[in-house]
């Protein structure tokens, strides 16, 4: 990092195509205030986000990863989000054992109409990342 520059948090947000991505769109259309420190990656389903992909994000310098999917019971593919939840909880355990704070990886649910919820989840995660700073052991 160059001297005199502020280090900005980098949050990778994986959004499922059917609910959360539309929710992000909704937040945009409604002109909600969201801190500009996140990048959205659209996936077909939250269960499409492989643990390997999350680790790759951390390796490439992400401060945090947020996985967003449809609410339980509302998955476009019936049960993808349940699998995403189990994978994320297990991956969290692995990350904790490797010295990452448990807040660095979060999974949450945002439906297509919940623009406000998208904004608040992303904002609160970014605030948490600012508090934690960059990962010490990436």
């Amino acid at each position: 990092m160059k001297k005199g520059t502020i280090e900005r948090p980098k949050l990778v947000v994986f959004c499922c195509n059917w609910c959360s991505y539309a929710g992000a769109d909704n937040a945009g259309v409604s002109k909600m205030d969201i801190k500009p420190y996140f990048r959205i990656i659209r996936t077909m389903c939250s269960s499409r986000v492989e643990p390997d992909t999350v680790l790759e994000a951390f390796k490439k310098g992400a401060w945090g990863v947020l996985i967003l999917g449809c609410h339980p019971g509302d998955c476009h593919y019936k049960n993808g989000n349940y699998k995403a939840l189990r994978r994320t909880l297990l991956l969290k355990r692995v990350l904790e054992d490797m010295g990452y704070e448990k807040e660095r990886l979060t999974i949450d649910w945002v439906s297509a109409s919940e623009g406000e919820r998208f904004a608040s989840v992303v904002n609160s995660t970014i605030e948490k990342m600012i508090e934690l700073g960059p990962p010490k052991n990436a």
Binding site: L55, N79, K83, L85, R86, R87, R93, V94, D97
Partner: protein, 331 residues
């Protein structure tokens, strides 16, 4: 024509790979007749200076086992790389980091503190240092690197002979390829291109659909040799592991622990098996299971990093610490 020169070297390893070479038995004698072993610290009395005297690329092939943990190992493999036409990573540790690679869970200082300061000992608490003085003499021992690296994270590697330790047929396959000059493309792993499940003797016993309701460790149950380990709730790394080992562990009633490394097209072996296991966990009741139910299942795995990444931590996205190492020592 003179015989091709071959070198063997060991880094952070247990010696099992050297044992595997000796285990070639009579075949070793035939191989020894065809080659000139110029360096093999465990068996022959050649020194580093003998290697230095050789001209560059004059060793036909160097088989290097063990992960890279100390500066001495780093220096030696660089020297061997310079003197060899080909370098083959021999065994799990050189290939993907192996058991020594689990050290990447902790910083070097933490490990040294635990071993030399915190643990009980009958001995005096002398912490070894790279430079020390005893009886007026200066003593030098190799410095420990910040993190463990695989061989190909340290030098350019041409071929891989996987396994902990590599089975005799795989070693012979590799040696014969070099002796006959029939070399596959660079980067080839001398093993099968299938996953272990594909060649597993229990393959037909695996139910089409099953859910893991409870995770068990191998010592907690009497395993039915006719059943797939995963369907019994015992974690087996077969789905993400390369085949070619001869299913040694499965035939001995033990689940796969992943020593052959990721199967082709898999990069992070641990993440892949984590993903597979998590999908199977309580799949029956996933719609009614609360987050606590899921957490309880997950917490029944005592050491997920040590289990999923038993052999592959330094080679994975999770445990590749090269960036830290480079920042710290600028080498």
């Amino acid at each position: 024509m003179s015989k091709p020169k071959v070198a063997f070297y060991w880094c952070a390893s247990c010696g099992g790979c050297e044992e595997a070479v000796v285990d070639l038995n009579e075949d070793l004698l035939q191989v020894a007749e065809k080659v000139d072993i110029v360096f093999w610290p465990v068996a022959l009395d050649f020194k580093r200076s003998d290697v230095e005297k050789l001209s560059d690329r004059s060793i036909a092939v160097s088989f290097i086992n063990g992960a890279i943990r100390t500066r001495e190992q780093e220096e030696m493999v660089r020297l061997l790389r310079k003197k060899s036409a080909y370098v083959a990573a021999f065994g799990s540790c050189a290939h993907i980091g192996g058991i020594p690679g689990l050290g990447n869970q902790f910083a070097k200082e933490k490990l040294l503190k635990l071993i030399y300061e915190d643990l009980e000992t009958n001995d005096d608490r002398t912490v070894p240092k790279p430079l020390s003085k005893a009886d007026g003499n200066e003593l030098e021992i190799p410095e420990i690197c910040e993190y463990v690296r695989t061989l190909d994270q340290t030098i350019d590697v041409d071929y891989y002979i996987p396994g902990c330790a590599p089975p005799a047929d795989i070693i012979l396959k590799g040696l014969t390829a070099f002796l006959k000059g029939e070399l596959p493309p660079k980067g080839t792993v001398f093993a099968s291109d299938k996953s272990l499940c594909d060649t597993c003797p229990l393959r037909d016993k695996k139910p089409d659909k099953f859910s893991i309701k409870e995770l068990k460790r191998p010592h907690e149950v009497i395993h039915d040799p006719e059943k797939c380990f995963l369907s019994e709730g015992i974690i087996c790394l077969g789905p993400a592991t390369r085949s070619g080992c001869g299913e040694r562990c499965i035939n001995a009633n033990m689940p796969c622990r992943g020593c052959f490394g990721p199967s082709p097209r898999v990069y992070d072996q641990g993440a892949k098996i984590l993903s597979a296991i998590a999908s199977l966990l309580g799949i029956d009741e996933e719609e009614i299971a609360s987050e606590e139910d899921v957490s309880r299942l997950i917490d029944s795995i005592p050491d997920p990093v040590g289990l999923f990444y038993m052999y592959s931590l330094p080679a994975s996205n999770l445990g590749d610490k090269r960036r830290n190492d480079e920042q710290k020592d600028n080498s």
